[in-house]
Amino acid sequence: MRTPKGTNTLLSSPIKSIHLLAVVTISTAVVTINFPATAQTPAPSPKNKAKTTTQTTQVKAEPLSGAELWALNCSRCHMARSPDEFTAAQWQTILRHMRVRANLPAAQARALQKFLQAGAGK
């Protein structure tokens, strides 16, 4: 659609929306960038461990297994690949690729990797 030259009434509103979107995404990134990586997280003290165990008991739910995550995620965008289609080392590389490309949460990517490597081809 054309608008008269120099008129920015249509432009101002969407740009504001995009600015808002950018602020939200950048803020999310800034906040989450301060979270330590799992690899860098010190092991919980026995006290914290006990607390975690208690919380788990209260929630009465365990994280999804790698097999369940496989069934949930891998068919979203493509036909799921069988674990024996790649070697354990290849799965490690592919899961890193998929973690980035599909924005998989890190813990889920690790569980998926463990599941796929358990049945990996040789």
């Binding site: 120099g6 950018a22 989450t32």
Partner: protein, 491 residues
């Protein structure tokens, strides 16, 4: 003298007689020895006779001495301790095997507080439509040695896809073509680095007046990815831009149609810059919020002006054709995407996202290009998928004011395996349909309906056939009705 009868000879007498005989034998042996016999040997002989006496006077041989008993008892205790240790080790090994088997089986983890039979059912259904047999993983896992050793810290892999196509456009000759050969190089370095580069090799005639053909190689993306932590990953390089989802999920064996939705033409597919992206899990049932935010060189102008027909959505890569290092307009493009993914069981999920970008585009940086995209994808069984995108852009121009190229598309697919007819070939067929429309903002509009099917030879080898009904309006018509066949392979 009266002799006692043999029956009346008591045991002490028998012992005395035995002792006497033993002594006589010992003496005779000593005499028969060499004259130079040592006192030690003599003492040994005496000891032997003493032992014989002892034997003659000891209880029957099936008795066990205290020393022997203690020795046997000690040996028993040691064996018992060893047995207990071995039993514990065996139990630990059994537990390890059990955990490995549970991890490799699609059923819920052992001990799960919330059994999900629906998960098993959905996974079973997924097996029918997705090809890979996760239930066989358990058996496969048993064959995997428990100790594989550490995986290499660096690894190089090639994945990707390739497509061969036959197309017949209304009013033109039909032709075969190598639609695409698109390898993706993946190099994993250490715990945090991944380098990925995707290429597109395409053959094109040297038309209209030239002979032979040209092989075109496009670098569709090449990024260095660094996993900062569980929630943030840094990307730098030639990025696929997270505007909607299509650009990141468009490979031939992901897209169920041989061509892209028309309105993708109003968005840039990639850009050179940097990006932060990641995911934050919500709860523990697989839901997550994802984000991507980027800064790049932005879009540009073909001839540097701000005229509407000069917008170039993919030509500002930082290096000019004469070798200079330059951003064509000096400004930066930026944008991002936020999305939520909510699965409620395998095969049933919803993903909704909103994304956008903004960038100057003419060389003078006086005109801006802005885009806003909404995307969604819904699976409401392993057999049914509906997804689409809506995109609107605003382009300030020198000659036409602000134009708004825009469009939307929606597609749906149904896998016949869902009918559970158990017909071998029908079970591998998916019926697909798509409707897409685009308005270039300069007076041309195109509406297209596509119907077709995908036959899954395997989970990565597809045969696709589609017929596209196209209706054009305006000065810049797009190709007319067409019939397309494609073989897609993902590797």
């Amino acid at each position: 003298m009266k002799w006692n009868s043999p029956r009346r000879i008591d045991s002490s007498a028998t012992a005395r007689i035995s002792l006497a005989i033993a002594l006589l034998r010992t003496l005779s042996v000593v005499q028969a020895q060499d004259a130079a016999i040592s006192p030690t040997q003599a003492q040994g002989a005496l000891n032997a006779s003493s032992q014989m006496q002892s034997v003659a006077t000891s209880p029957p041989s099936n008795y066990v001495s205290r020393a022997e008993y203690d020795k046997l008892k000690a040996e028993h205790e040691a064996m018992k301790t060893e047995h207990d240790a071995m039993k514990q080790e065996l139990d630990a090994l059994k537990e390890t095997v059990k955990q490995l088997t549970a991890a490799a089986t699609p059923a819920p983890a052992a001990g799960s507080a919330t059994p999900v039979p629906e998960t098993e059912k959905a996974v079973s259904e997924a097996k029918q439509v997705a090809g890979p047999p996760p239930s066989e993983v358990a058996a496969a896992a048993e064959t995997v040695p428990v100790e594989l050793g550490p995986l290499a810290t660096h690894s190089f892999s090639i994945v990707g896809d390739a497509e061969v196509q036959f197309g017949k456009i209304s009013g033109q000759h039909g032709a075969f073509m190598l639609a695409d050969f698109a390898p993706i190089f993946l190099f994993r370095g250490g715990d945090r680095i991944l380098f990925e580069a995707g290429f597109d090799f395409i053959l094109q005639n040297n038309a209209p007046a030239g002979s032979g053909y040209t092989t075109t190689v496009n670098l569709s993306f090449a990024t260095l990815d660094y996993l900062i932590n569980d929630y943030v990953t840094f990307l730098g390089g030639n990025m696929l831009l997270p505007l909607g989802t299509y650009s990141e999920r468009s490979a031939g064996w992901l897209n169920k149609f041989p061509d892209a939705p028309l309105p993708r033409a109003v968005l840039p597919g990639n850009g050179v810059g940097v990006q932060l992206r990641g995911a934050i899990p919500i709860g523990d049932r697989g839901a997550s919020v994802t984000y991507s935010t980027f800064v790049d060189n932005g879009v540009s102008s073909v001839n540097g002006t701000g005229n509407a027909d000069q917008l170039d959505l993919g030509g500002n890569v930082g290096l000019t054709s004469d070798g200079r290092f330059a951003n064509l307009h000096g400004g930066a493009g930026w944008g991002g995407r936020v999305a939520a993914f909510w699965p409620w069981k395998p095969g049933y999920d919803l993903e909704v996202g909103v994304s956008g970008m903004s960038s100057p585009w003419d060389d003078a940086s006086r005109r801006r290009y802005s885009a806003l995209v909404a995307d969604w994808a819904l699976h409401f069984s392993p057999y049914v998928e509906v997804k689409g995108e809506y995109m609107n852009t605003w382009v300030g121009t020198d000659d036409a004011g602000t134009i708004t190229p825009r469009g939307w598309w929606i597609q749906a697919g149904y896998k016949f395996a869902g009918l559970k007819l158990d017909v071998p070939y029908l079970d591998k067929l998916e019926l697909v349909g798509r409707y897409d429309t685009v308005n270039d903002g300069l007076g041309s509009r195109t509406k297209r309906g596509t119907v077709g099917g995908v036959y899954y030879v395997t989970n990565t080898l597809w045969l696709e056939a589609d017929y596209e009904f196209t209706r054009n309006h305006g000065p810049n018509p797009l190709p007319d009705d067409s019939l397309l066949f494609q073989i897609s392979y993902g590797f």
